[in-house]
Amino acid sequence: MTELADLTPGDRVFAASFPVSRADLAAYAEASGDRNPIHLDEAAAKAAGLPDVIAHGMYTMGLISRAVLEWAAEAGLDASLGEFSARFAKPVVVPAGTGAVVDVEAKVRKAETGSVELAITALSGGEKVVAPARATLTSN
């Protein structure tokens, strides 16, 4: 069991790695209703000036949320997400055969009584794909 009060700024709280395939993007497009062809079709992506199909920014943010939720569940934290934000800095490029990998890592940015703010990085293909995302967890 981890308590929010145990966390100190600078602590590295989790790292997670997620493979991303074209099929994942197709499933996300259906589930979210965002069927922009730059996330599904190589020709459409290239016509838009992109190197290849790219993941939805919201798919990447969804993976980050998954990493936060999995960590919180594993740590037995009794806390809820109060705020969650991300700035999409670079696209996650997803080639047809190999797919991509998104590596997520979180550190404690601020710790106050009853709440903790995480700064979360996400890397893919050697690029930082988000300016650090922020997630604030508040004790239930």
Partner: protein, 132 residues
């Protein structure tokens, strides 16, 4: 270029939309979440983006969706929403900024259920300007 006079405008509140258990579990599974019953943190985007359709489709506003990139996203959760809830969305054009010939459009959408404001969702879109 976007019509900057739209800054500050509130769009019509949508009719009540149900957060169905089916849409929640499909969204959760698409992200690989093990809990397919709770509403995922980013799920609300599936309601707030369609709520902005009247703005996206308004020829007077001048938004060309093919030039749009999602730049920033923020959620503030005021209360837990559960599958089965019915919510309305009210988008507000929070700001329109022009930077080096490109536009940054920020929408803030209020998501409310029968008990009032449940969440706020900010979406910032980068809209590429016409090449000079």
């Amino acid at each position: 270029m976007l019509n900057a006079s739209y800054a500050g405008r509130t769009l019509p509140t949508t009719g009540p939309v149900a957060i169905t258990a089916e849409s929640v579990s499909r969204f959760a599974r698409a992200l690989g979440l093990s809990d397919a019953a709770s509403v995922p943190p980013t799920y609300l985007i599936t309601l707030t983006l369609p709520a902005a359709d009247p703005l996206i489709d308004d020829p007077e506003f001048g938004l060309d969706w093919s030039k749009v990139l999602h730049r920033e996203q923020r959620f503030a959760y005021h209360r837990e929403l559960r599958a089965g809830a019915e919510v309305t969305c009210t988008p507000v054009v929070e700001s329109i900024k022009t930077v080096a010939g490109n536009d940054l459009l920020t929408l803030r959408t209020e998501v409310a259920d029968a008990d009032g404001l449940a969440a706020e969702v900010w979406t910032t879109l980068f809209v590429a300007g016409d090449p000079q």
